[in-house]
Amino acid sequence: MRGFLKVFLLLAMAGAAVFWYLTEPKVLDAQSLPTTPGDVEKGKYIFYASGCASCHAAPDAKGEEKLALAGGHAFKTPFGTFYAPNISPDEEDGIGGWSDVDFVNAVMRGVSPDGQHYYPAFPYMSYQRMNVQEVIDLKAYMDTLPAVKSQVPDHDLPLPFRFRRGLGAWKFLFMDNKPFKAVQGASDAVNRGAYLVTGPGHCGECHTPRNLLGGPETDWQLAGGPAPEGKGVISNITPHRDGIGDWSEADIASSLETGFTPSYDTFGGSMVAVQENMAHLSAEDRAAIAAYLKSVEPRPSRWKERKPEK
C-alpha cells in the first residue's frame, strides 16, 4: 500500500511538472527581433489591416474617436464576458512604456510583459502569422495615438477560466507559433490575400467556427456558424453556394470597399467596423483578399436546415 502511494505521488508530481512545462508562456527574446526601427506610416496601414480599433476603441466610438484606444468593449461569449483592455500609449492605464519585444510577444504569442497568458479573445492565434517587422511598425504607429485614461473592468469569467496558467494548455492544443507560409504554386495575389486573411485580418477568428474548448475547427475554416454573441449567424465566406460562391472577385473587393453586397444589401453588426478598416487598404490588397477567398475549399453551412434536394 505504501508502495502504491509512493508511485501515485511520483506520478502526480511528474504530471504537475509536465503541466507546468507545457503551460509555460513561450516568448520571443529581444535578440531575435529585426533591428530596423518601426515605421509609423507602414504601421498605420497595418493598424487598419489588423483591425485593432474595432475592439479596442471605446464602445460606439465613431470617426476620429476610434484612434483613442481606451478599451471597455464587452464581449459576451460562452466562456464569460471579456473586456477589451486600454491599449493606448498611456503609461498607467494603457501600454505606454512597453518595449518592442513586450509588444511583439503580446500580439504574436499572447503573453503579457509580466509573463501571463492572454485569453484568446485577443486574436493572437492569427497574429502569430504576422511578419515581425510589421508588428514593430504597428507599435511605432500606435505610439503616436492619443494616450487616454480609462478603467476597464476585469474579465467576468467562471472559476476554472480565471486560472490563466491553464491557457498554456489551450495554446499547447491549438497554437503552433509558426509564421505565415506561402502556398507554392499559388499566385502572388492569392498568397498576399492568404497572409492578410489568416494573419493581420484575423477573419477566421469569427468566420471559422470554434469547438467546445474554443479552439478553431480547422475542417470548417471560414464556413461561418452561429454567432458566439447574440442570436445571429456569422456568414460563410468560402466559395460554396451557401457562402460567397456566386460573388465574383470584383464583388468581394467592392463589398470590402463600400459595405454593399452584390445585391445591395449591406454588411451589418461588427462586420461594419471590419469593412471600414478594409476600406483603408489598397485596391490591390482588397483584390488579393478576394482572390484568396475564391481559392479556398468551398464548405457548406452546416447549421442551415436543409430541405431534401429533388
Binding site: 454567432a227 445571429g232 445591395y264
Partner: protein, 148 residues
Amino acid sequence: MHILSKFAAVTALTVMSTTSFAADDPIAARQNIMKNVGAAMKAAGAMATGKAEYDALAAELAVRTINSSAIGFPMFFPKGSETGGDTEAAPAIWSDMEGFSKSSAQLATDSATATEAAKGGMDTFKGAFFAMAKNCKACHEKFRIKKN
C-alpha cells in the same frame, strides 16, 4: 411644390394602407419594404457607379421608393413583433426605439435630398446617393442581426 405635396399625400396614404396590413403581420410587411429598398438601391447604385446609363426619371423613382419606405418605418416594429418569421430585427430596436427612429428619419431626410438631386444629372445625383447610402450600413450595424 404642388406636385411634391401630392407625392407626400400619396406616400402618406401608402404608409397608412400598409399599416393596416402591418397590424396583421408587421414582420412580413417590413421585410417587403426592405426588399423594395434593396431593389431600388440596386437600380440607383448601378447608375451612381456608372454601371448603368443615367436616367433621371429612373433615379428619382428609385430614391423616392427609398424615401417612402423610410418615412414611418419604425411603425412596422410594434411591441410583440420582436421575434418570429425569420426576423433579423435586433433587440436594440426596442431597447433604443428613439435611436432607431432617428436613424430612419435620417434616411428619410437624405433620400429626400437625393430625390431632388436626381433632377440635377448624374454628378449631382452621385454625391447625394452615396450620402444616403451611408445610412443603410449605419443602421444595420446596430439594429440588424444576420440570420443566414
